[in-house]
């Protein structure tokens, strides 16, 4: 029997592929890599592109990834695929947006938290909930 390795292709939102294969090709940052069983441990970033998996029947399956990470252990290959194109500028822009949202929301706010007030309010809400529960039990 030919030597095989286990391939997992997962994205943050779902599992894409998980099976054994004889060979995996991935678009690593430094150029495409082909991984055969008993490859030395490797950790690298992926560029957007195609991950190709040769399964035991000799078929070739291909998956598109928009970047991510590739982890290689002698008998396990893990592709942590990104669901979105990541670029430094893009991430930066999104971070700015998130900050702006916060600033926008805080237009009339103070940085000091009134813990006493917060706890009092929460206690009140909790009491309300408890009262509702009690009333429900009674009826």
């Amino acid at each position: 029997m030919a030597m095989t390795l286990h391939v997992d292709i997962v994205s943050a939102e779902e599992e894409i592929y998980s099976d054994t294969a004889t060979m995996v090709f991935a678009p690593a940052e430094m150029g495409e890599v082909g991984i055969a069983p008993r490859h030395t441990p490797l950790l690298t970033r992926l560029k957007p592109g195609e991950v190709r998996v040769q399964n035991q029947e000799g078929e070739e399956l291909s998956f598109f990834v928009s970047g991510g990470m590739l982890e290689v252990q002698p008998h396990v290959v893990t592709v942590l695929a990104d669901t979105a194109i990541r670029a430094h500028d893009l991430d930066e822009a999104q971070a700015m947006e998130a900050k702006e949202r916060a600033e926008h929301m805080l237009a009339d706010n103070t940085a000091d938290i009134d813990y006493a007030k917060a706890q009092a309010e929460l206690a009140q809400s909790m009491a309300q909930l408890a009262a509702i529960k009690k009333l429900r039990k009674k009826s």
Binding site: V10, E13, M30, L43, T78, Q94, A95, N109, R136
Partner: protein, 286 residues
């Protein structure tokens, strides 16, 4: 006839409310199933990336990533995940209660706190009460995508790298089952290194191109995936809590209707009795 008509309208209006709560219960039940599936779907990624990070913390790389280093805390960051909508029982209130308790402890220990808020409910809560808010994200919907969180989380990660915060925590509801959800506050950074007995061997990866950028992007993805999982889990909690809240609302409406029906019947009977006695006494007078 004392208010028989009013009682009837009241019963009709409660019946309408009951229909709405019943519909909401069913919608929440089906959404919860989907949210649970989504929660399970995110698990493989989280497990895989956790394995890789655990390997890394044992692989003795020449570069120690800042996320793995413990440093003295002066200021902490806290990411709070709440729901966007209400009508889900005490879910958000319970979460805020444990958050405020934790925050109070930190501030008593002399730590300052920066906040990142996810969900409109936490926004409303901390807008009213104050707090140093760095970034927010709202309206993620029932099927949140990780893209919408990247920027929000990055603000906190940047703050950590710049040294303005020394620890990062995540607060969200943990989904146990349909009936119980628990608020929890857990530490994200520094990443708690686990001692796995099987991984005590000394080996290291080959890094391409270099260990520093590879580990940077890996750690960022790791934190993002933890936050994303929190968000997805919170959605499942929200739907479960809403389902339970709406179910009890429907039951309560049913009880109310029964009670009102009884009062209505009594009123109707009283009116009939009165009418008869009036007729009888009228006939006697003739």
């Amino acid at each position: 006839m004392a208010g028989a008509k009013e009682i009837r309208t009241k019963i009709a209006s409660i019946k309408n409310t009951q229909k709405i709560t019943k519909a909401m219960e069913m919608v929440a039940a089906s959404k919860m199933r989907k949210a649970q599936e989504r929660m399970l779907a995110t698990r493989p990624y989280a497990e895989k990336i956790h394995t890789v990070v655990t390997h890394l913390s044992h692989a003795h790389p020449e570069y120690h990533h800042p996320y793995l280093q413990e440093r003295e805390a002066k200021r902490v960051g806290l990411i709070i995940i709440s729901t966007d909508r209400g009508l889900c029982g005490g879910l958000n209130i319970n979460l805020f209660k444990s958050v405020v308790t934790a925050m109070k402890e930190w501030s008593e220990a002399g730590l300052e706190i920066d906040l990142t808020l996810i969900g409109t409910k936490s926004n409303a809560f901390f807008k009213r009460l104050g707090g140093n808010i760095l970034s927010t994200a709202t309206h993620l919907g029932d099927a949140p995508s990780i893209v919408e969180l990247i920027g929000t989380v990055k603000v906190m990660l940047d703050a950590y790298e710049a040294g303005s915060i020394d620890r990062l925590y995540l607060a969200h509801n943990e989904f146990e089952n349909t009936m119980s959800q628990h608020p929890q506050v857990k530490q994200l950074i520094p990443v708690a290194g686990e001692s796995d007995e099987q991984l005590q061997t000394h080996w290291d990866y080959i890094y391409e191109p270099d260990s520093v950028p590879v580990m940077d992007s890996l750690m960022i993805r790791y934190i993002e995936s933890l936050v994303y999982q929190g968000v997805v889990e919170n959605v499942a909690c929200e739907q479960a809590a809403r389902m339970v809240a709406m179910k009890s609302a429907t039951d309560n409406a049913g009880d109310l209707i029964d009670e009102l029906q009884l009062i209505y019947n009594k009123a109707r009977q009283a009116a009939i009795t009165q009418e008869i006695s009036e007729i009888v006494s009228g006939a006697a007078a003739v």
